[in-house]
Amino acid sequence: MSKIALNINGTRKDVDVDDDMPLVWILRDVLAMTGTKFGCGVGVCGSCTVLENGKAVRSCQIPASEAKGRSFTTIEGLSRDASHPCQRAWLEEDVAQCGFCQPGMILTACSLLRDQPNPSDEAIDAVMSESVCRCGTYPRMRKAIKRAAALMQEKKS
């Protein structure tokens, strides 16, 4: 166990946790930030996805000893008012059903769009197929990712 500092959504957080406690539990149980969901604990569902420097990482696979000193963005930190292009696109395409996997899906899409601003269907399949939505929102997610890409390009120009 040790006291570690990490940065969540731009704010320094000091926590006293076991070295092996995964980031998902630091966020949820210690910091009471429940937007990041627990789904499988073994990195196969994507529900616990957060961003590190814009890149999607699975918070159930990052123990405290490795999270130390790093900076992460959770769904709560993506925007103040659901105005991030991915959030907007998600709302405009009416993606969510139960919504439980959606924070992880949205952050995964953010990461995809950072690497590939105009992703092909194949690229969307490759990246998004790492995550699970049991309600079956995939067709709408695909549309939302394309819409978000367009919104981001609009913003730039």
């Binding site: 149980d29 627990f38 499988c40 769904i75 993506l78 998600w90 139960c98 049991r134 079956g136 067709p139």
Partner: protein
């Protein structure tokens, strides 16, 4: 089908500041129950103009919160942005019959409109009195009462004081479809913004003061005994507070989830070995296939009319259906705080009153002492109709004398589900000399749900047996002779409703076998079905009436919209299937697949046509069709649950594979207008049953290989 709209209304004035109306929506099936006052909702209008709807339906992604708000808000004349939703908690009264399942919420919600209509009439009467005009010159719209002739307008909030003093109007008129403002409009999900910003609160996200986190090491097979465990080692884990043994296993309670999980691992519980005759799903499948050939309990019998040609030959087949898990993304979880004979529960449940009743029984107290708060649900699919995960939380809290949150691990969730039960189907068609079908036989061998005990005094007549085999007895085709039956087979593992309950296996077998018969005949599978759907527009089985007309229409629509009949490429195939769900919702699919050389199937496109009665929210209908299709793709081409030595073998999404983005086809949804529709029907379940046979039939078209056993494995097709 709903003949009476028995709605009981009651007004309450709270200091003159609010108008509150309680209402009751009787279930379609409850028509023979005595008149009880069982309101399952409230319409409340406050002086600030806020309209608060308290609803007893659990939201698990099916869009029920949005749809109910639309129905009630429309009838009231409310402003959409001023509607607030409150989730009902069960109580001895008025909320003593809450439950969400069977795709019944739309019908039940529809029967609640008189409450909103009564509130509207009272607001109008209050405004008319103030203006000294006739009430019928006024209307309610956008959260206000209007008098168009004098262009006067009064907000609801300004009227509630006077309105709440008025007598409750009898038979307040309901709006007709031409007057709908919200119903039928594409309406985004009421919780959408919360969801995309991470603010939506599911069961797993709840916390109460002083709460401990529990993880339970569960017996691997029912009846297993913990023979050895290392409690000292578990206690040595930092944060572990206590270890308690209950019916469901050994619970480790800790300051956080991670410590509970580590403590549980450190316990290293050794369980007694399973007996040699412990449950094995492979052996069970063989039993089912044998049982399906037994005469069984009759669910429908129609003799061939005189003059029907005799059977010249019979075609028969056995279809086999496996176990499936629900596998919602949000694992089972529950917060319980037992204090003496009282208990507070926070739980993502589809069955709040079942939770309340069973926890009260456990604690030997009365239901009113058990407070149940229902959260948003991260996927239900029928799994959360069971109260097992809530009961164990109450048991653990009582034993530990502390508030606890019990969180299941993913393997717990996958191995200890209330699974969709395996079943087998025997189908036989008798053909006359010319090859026309003159007799139809379908027997299902399956298992009763064991969520709760079957009452011993239930009358086991044809309808009762039919109730376990939707999709069998209600075969919509007009065969001269029909015989359907059900054979119950004991099943010692937990099982229960899954999305579409009993229909998926039956419709898989029936619609695949129909396809076999069409090919046998050399007939086009859509034309073949339409021909079998000739004859009377409606038919009855027992007390239920089924309408063939919407089913013909949805088949015609998918034929027209799908390029049916156009040639497809090598190893590509196109298949069709259709179904009437629970006598109400009519759906047809045309599916295009591609099967590669290795036997891997990709569903490329699905064209869907649906008649679900009056459409409340087109977005909701489309979402449920899409979701039902993806659900079906998971069960056709993904994982199954198998049992060895009494234990489920799968533990997570890698060994119980579900559909992912790459597996999602292009989906086209055609909502077939039904101008005669008088009420809406649910859409959570109906999209599931016909998708699997449509895939199977497309695979046959692509490869000439007939799948009679699920899930479909590449080896079957390579």
């Amino acid at each position: 089908m709903i003949t009476s709209r028995r709605t009981f209304l009651k007004t309450t004035a709270l200091g003159g500041a609010s108008l509150i109306i309680g209402f009751n929506g009787n279930r379609l099936f409850a028509a023979n129950r005595p008149n009880e006052f069982k309101p399952n909702g409230w319409v409340r209008i406050d002086a600030d103009g806020t309209v608060t709807l308290t609803i007893g339906k659990s939201e698990m992604g099916q869009g029920v919160r949005t749809a109910l708000a639309m129905m009630l808000g429309d009838e009231l004349g409310a402003e959409w942005s001023r509607i607030k939703l409150v989730q009902a908690s069960p109580g001895p009264a008025p909320f003593d019959d809450l439950g969400t399942g069977g795709s019944g919420s739309m019908q039940e919600g529809w029967m609640m409109r008189p409450a909103a209509a009564a509130a509207r009439e009272m607001l109008i009467t209050a405004a008319a009195a103030q203006w000294k005009v006739a009430p019928n010159e006024c209307k309610a719209e956008g959260g206000a009462v209007l008098h168009p002739a004098s262009k006067r307008r009064l907000e609801f909030g300004k009227l509630v004081g006077e309105a709440s003093k008025l007598p409750l109007p009898k038979n307040a008129p309901l709006k007709s479809p031409g007057d709908f403002k919200l119903i039928g409009q594409r309406t985004p999900k009421i919780d959408g913004r919360d969801i995309v910003s991470g603010a939506a609160r599911y069961g797993i996200d709840a916390k109460i003061s002083g709460m401990l986190y529990a993880s339970v090491e569960r017996p691997p097979w029912p009846g297993a005994k913990a023979e050895k465990m290392d409690e000292d080692k578990a206690h040595a884990v930092r944060g572990v507070k206590s270890i308690v043994q209950t019916e469901s296993g050994v619970a480790v309670l800790a300051e956080n989830t991670w410590a509970a999980l580590k403590g549980r691992a450190a316990l290293a519980v050794q369980w007694s070995a399973a007996p040699v005759d412990a449950f094995d799903s492979e052996a069970h499948a063989k039993n089912l296939e044998k049982a399906a050939r037994e005469p069984g309990n009759r669910t429908r019998k129609e003799e061939a009319p005189a003059g029907t040609p005799p059977v010249a030959r019979t075609i028969e087949a056995i279809y086999s259906y496996p176990f499936y898990a629900h596998a919602p993304l949000e694992v089972m979880n529950c917060i319980a705080h037992v204090e003496g004979d009282r208990c507070k529960m926070i739980v993502p449940t589809q069955a709040p009153n079942r939770v309340q009743k069973q926890v009260a029984d456990l604690l030997k107290t009365t239901p009113d002492k058990v407070e149940v708060e229902v959260t948003l649900i991260g996927g239900g699919f029928g799994r959360r109709l069971a109260a097992d995960y809530a009961l164990e939380a109450a048991e653990i809290s009582r034993a530990a004398k502390a508030p606890v949150q019990v969180l299941w691990s993913r393997p717990d969730d996958m191995k200890h589900g209330h699974f969709q039960a395996a079943s087998a189907h025997y189908l036989a068609a008798g053909l006359d000399e010319k090859g026309a079908i003159v007799s139809w036989k379908h027997t299902k061998a399956g298992s009763f749900h064991n969520l709760s005990a079957i009452e011993p005094d239930e009358v086991r007549n044809e309808a009762w047996w039919g109730g376990w085999s939707w999709g069998v007895y209600d075969v919509p085709y007009a065969f001269p002779a029909i015989e359907t039956a059900y054979v119950p087979v004991d099943l010692p593992v937990k099982h229960g409703p899954w999305r579409s309950v009993f229909a998926p296996s039956s419709v898989f077998a029936r619609e695949s076998f129909i396809d076999e018969l069409a090919h046998e005949r050399g007939a086009d599978p859509i034309a073949f079905r339409l021909q079998l759907l000739q004859g009377p527009d409606t038919f009855k089985v027992g007390r239920e009436t089924f309408d063939r007309r919407p089913l013909r229409r949805v088949l015609e629509v998918v034929r027209e919209k799908s390029d049916w009949g156009k040639k497809v490429g090598e190893r590509h195939g196109r298949g069709v299937a259709c179904n009437i769900y629970d006598g109400r919702t009519h759906i047809a699919y045309v599916v295009d697949v591609y099967v590669n050389e290795d036997g891997h199937t990709k569903v490329e496109r699905v064209v869907a046509a649906v008649d679900c009665g009056l459409v409340i929210n087109p977005i909701g209908v489309e979402q449920q069709i899409e979701g039902g299709i993806i659900w079906g793709i998971s069960s056709a081409l993904g994982g199954q649950i198998t049992f060895k030595n009494g234990s489920a073998q799968q533990s997570t999404y890698s060994d119980f594979a579900v559909a992912r983005m790459k597996d999602a086809p292009a989906i086209e949804v055609h909502i077939v207008g039904n101008e005669n529709a008088r009420q809406p029907f649910g859409m959570g379940e109906p999209p599931v049953p016909p998708i699997v046979p449509a895939i199977v039939n497309a695979i046959f078209a692509a490869t000439g290989k007939r799948i009679r056993k699920l899930p479909i494995l590449p080896n079957d097709l390579a």
